[in-house]
Symmetry: C2
Subunit: 345 residues, 2 copies
């Protein structure tokens, strides 16, 4: 592989001149520049980005550290990031925490000297730990993580408000006994969604204390919840799953048990995964524009790189929006409410 020295020799100039010519800086006469360019062509010279970034002290690369590299959430967030990064000529270096704290530390450490900034999404890491791992000198934006104490800019989804709105919508459709299927206990999104549900129930339907079934965001846990519902004869005329995945499992299992959706129970999810609209009936859900999580985060990071002093104050909160589909179609008449109270399933 040809180096700059080779090019300089070939063109009969010094490395400094060759560098200037190649980078289009001033102080190079047209003939000299032409000679250098000819040498570049001839030797097939491509600048060595590694060496370049060493002196320039910038790499034109941002590190993206995600909990895993899997599924639609991942691809959408990357798409959003790339959209913005590409416009600014930035490259993406992928890091993966592989679910382990130790790996997370390693992934972050490995980024030093490779990237100009970091986009990190640490869904179940304590802020103090995170602070330990992060290099304060490296511009960093957190994705889907509100760590106000760290004073880092972040972009998050308003899960609380989304869940609140969804619960309201179910009640507005005439539901009286709404059951929530929660996500993993340690997961912030899951907790916020649960809070939103609980608060909405407390405020609007205060007569009853809300029922919450455990779940872990997986399809199987949705199925399990369905069995609990059916076998336990739990009174319910609507089920709000903390994510679509569980809603899908729930619906499948309910169908097997002969329970009709929305005839016997309404079902709602959260996320609006592509599958949601393809089910029949379509799944009512809160749409989260995951790509915007990525693109907004990347935009914040770019501002950080430009030198703006951004803290937690410049956080962006994305509000999800309600998508109503078939699984919450209102029952014909007010019969629902009374029937539900009697024997919902």
């Amino acid at each position: 592989m040809a180096t700059l020295r080779d090019v300089a020799r070939e063109a009969g100039v010094s490395v400094a001149t060759a560098s200037r010519a190649i980078n289009g800086l001033g102080n190079v006469t047209a003939p000299t520049r032409a000679a250098v360019m000819a040498a570049v062509k001839k030797l097939n010279f491509v600048p060595h980005s590694g060496a370049r970034s060493l002196t320039r002290r910038k790499t034109d690369t941002v590190g993206v550290i995600l909990p895993d590299l899997f599924g639609e959430f991942f691809s959408e967030i990357i798409r959003g990031i790339d959209l913005v990064a590409h416009e600014s000529g930035m490259h993406l270096l992928l890091g993966n925490m592989h679910g382990s704290t130790h790996e997370t530390a390693a992934a972050i450490a490995a980024m030093r000297g490779r990237v100009d900034g970091l986009l990190v999404m640490p869904p179940d890491l304590k802020p103090e730990l995170l602070a330990d791992y992060l290099d304060p000198a490296l511009p960093t934006v957190l994705l889907n993580y509100d760590a106000g104490s760290l004073d880092l800019p972040f972009v998050a989804v308003d899960n609380y408000r989304g869940a609140y709105a969804m619960t309201e919508a179910l009640l507005a459709h005439g539901a009286r006994q709404v059951i929530h299927i929660a996500g993993p206990k340690h997961n912030r999104d899951a907790r916020d969604r649960q809070r939103g549900f609980v608060d909405a129930m407390a405020k609007i339907a205060k007569e009853r204390s809300p029922v919450i079934l455990p779940g872990d965001f997986s399809e199987e846990s949705g199925e399990k919840a369905a069995r609990l519902l059916v076998e336990g004869q739990l009174p319910a005329d609507a089920v709000f799953a903390a994510n679509d995945q569980m809603a899908v499992g729930l619906i499948a299992e309910l169908a097997r048990a002969g329970v009709s959706v929305p005839g016997d129970v309404m079902v709602a999810g959260f996320d609006d995964i592509p599958l949601a609209r393809h089910l029949s009936p379509g799944l009512t859900t809160m749409q989260v524009n995951i790509d915007r999580l990525g693109s907004t985060g990347m935009m914040l990071l770019l501002r950080l790189l430009r030198g703006d002093a951004l803290g937690a104050a410049s956080a962006t909160i994305l509000t999800p929006n309600l998508i109503e589909r078939g699984t919450t179609a209102s029952a014909p008449g007010a019969a629902r409410a009374t029937a539900a109270a009697a024997s919902p399933l």
Copy 2:
């Protein structure tokens, strides 16, 4: 940010000794090593990977260049690559051709000095062009691209055989009038699948010349094909779409037109996207393990990096496997064949 020099000074040793201690090389006494490590801790030193890779002449990073960073295909392939790369402590640098030839060249050039090897998936690039862009000195594996003339190792999916097998299966289920919805004309996968279909039809059902409708892998083009079928009154008792996406659109539109699947027509797709099993009835399709495309490619690249001389001869061809679901459930009795011949839709 602390540098190695800082650490050395703090520990009262030379940079060479500090480097050796940190990298666990021999020839360092325990006390010296301890002193260095203490300095590392104290100064919070993290080695600068950029500088390190400059001298080591390796970056522990592989470049992944894909046509786009979008959807399930992308996330699965990355997952497969990461699985293997992670085991070897390799990082992933993402490149995106954004659909343009010019961008492709830029993406490849930008990799020089940043990566030890390249994983490239150029679905609609001519081999000659590709050869121009690639650096012959940089170990490269092609994904889903058979460019025998370049003599590069590659890993591909046997689309031809998959389509052939699917067509056979449809015929075995009693279909007589099978229609194919093709993918984009310039796309290699699409062409191979079409060839497989045509050949299978020629061999097994030679009495009729196969009908092929145009498509572009999008859901909409599947819907369009459905309208052609219905409005054009095309005789068909089975439709084989070149990918699942189109099959999904097709089924949705057929449902709107009151055509029952598989009652009136059987439908089959290709790819086995997650949605396929969630449709009701489930979509019969050829399962392509996209993640294996990535993991196998990465394994080939690792061998290349280890110094093995691999050429096109070490290509791996992945055979997709048939997943039969509801959309091709055999009709009750032989009534189908005759009914179909009379008035299929």
